[in-house]
Amino acid sequence: MKDLLADRVVLITGAGAGVGRGIALACGGAGAKVVVTARNPEQGRGVVAEITERGGTALFARCDVTRRAEIDAAVQAACQQFGALDALIHNATSNRSPEPHALEDVDASLIEEHTSVALRAAFDCAQLSFEPLRQRQGHYVLLTSPAGIEGSATLPLYSAVKAGQRGFLKSLAKEWGPQGIQVNAISPLSATPALVRAFEANPTLKTQLETLTPLGRVGDPELDIGAAATLLLSPASRYITGQTWVVDGGRFLGL
């Protein structure tokens, strides 16, 4: 995997922790120049430091994905400081994603909270990265979930926006394919900080999840999800577009 992404420039939203961090570390380890974007500068710069300490190349760009200007600035930073943009991975999700809610109770502000980060930001990231990605025949990647395929009994709005992202990527794959840009999604299961907190709150949850997973464990954000992301961005995957890669040890087999 060491030089699989040599000379590629990869921008990741929400890369300060969890899956975003895992993908950033993996891409950096594979030789990519990584643009780590996050709302929290301390977290983001921490990930940059981890990449550079391992011999990789990275820079931090503060980015709240609900602010189009910040997405634009991050894309510009990639192009100006690293010379190009080969991949944009829109991983950021609402902080309220794991909060259970009843569909009959949701109001416009909670809908906006989810749609602004998952859908509006997907729209903005796509528009703002199109030209650089077209020049490099690059990749646009979203992070989705089984909730977006089969619906979650406890997370209606999270399910809705994750589903929306799949509707988004299929049409965009058809639209951008002639431009040479691949558009795909990854659906991960890994021990993110949110899931680890859930395990601490409910000690049986980890065992339940492991039991439901054919490969018997919850994934690692870098070694499992990041590895798959690296593969998706690599030359080996040059003929793949419009797809959702489910990287979860086999827990979800509904695709």
């Binding site: 859908l119 619906g151 399910s159 049409s171 419009g242």
Partner: protein, 226 residues
């Protein structure tokens, strides 16, 4: 007709029922015995949608079936994503999802504890994708899956929630539908508006109480994946 009287006594509201595909669905409900009325979404806020439903249900004298067929026509305009403005995205895609959520909620308010049928029209193109229609397929796929979550959360109230997925040609006068190459229909004589009615008739009936969270593609047998 085999479905004569299948909806006798059932009270139905159809959003978007005043014209086009919604009107065809409403007519199909009526010919099967339902008391069906079109409901216009005026004020699209949560309070506005709920108030519209409260008034419509009061006029009907109750509620058994809701069909959400209303669709902002701007979503059917083919346009490159990079030529789509933020306002078009928000007023098309995001407003579409928001309205569907509020319609689901309003339906729930009147069906909970008594049971009922909610059917959302989710054009089949959302699972196939189509260049030029990113806002449409984003919104519709969101709605199709939020319907499943409603099915999971409200089943204990006797409420079923399903999606009806027509082809795009059902939503247009035939010459105006965007060209989305999904293949030839298995049923060459399929009428995209008229021939959806029997499936909706079944979905709306008392008989269909064991079907929920499903997507029924009724497009003449064009898109069959999944």
């Amino acid at each position: 007709m085999a479905q004569d009287g299948i909806l006798d006594g059932r009270r139905a509201l159809v959003t978007g029922g005043e014209s086009g595909f919604g009107a065809a669905l409403l007519e199909g409900l009526c010919t099967r015995g339902a008391r069906a009325e079109s409901i216009a979404i005026g004020d699209p806020s949560r309070e506005g949608v709920h108030a519209s439903f409260d008034a419509a249900v009061a006029a009907l004298g109750g509620l058994d079936v809701v069909v959400h067929a209303a669709l902002d026509p701007s979503l059917l305009e083919s346009r490159a994503l990079c030529e789509t403005s933020g306002a078009q995205w928000e007023q098309g895609c995001e407003a579409c999802l928001r309205t569907a959520v509020f319609v689901l909620q309003a339906s729930y308010r009147h069906l909970r504890g008594r049971g009922g049928r909610i059917v959302l029209v989710t054009p089949a193109v959302s699972t196939a994708g189509a260049a030029g229609l990113v806002p449409l397929t984003t919104a519709v796929e969101s709605i199709r899956i939020v319907a499943k979550t409603a099915a999971k959360q409200w089943g204990s109230q006797g409420i079923t929630v399903n999606s009806l997925a027509p082809g795009l040609d059902a939503l247009f006068d035939s010459s105006q539908a965007p060209r989305v190459a999904l293949g030839e229909p298995g049923l060459p004589d399929f009428d995209p508006q008229r021939d959806v009615a029997p499936v909706l008739g079944f979905l709306s009936s008392e008989e269909a109480g064991t079907l929920t969270g499903a997507t029924l593609r009724v497009d003449g047998g064009v898109w069959m994946a999944g």
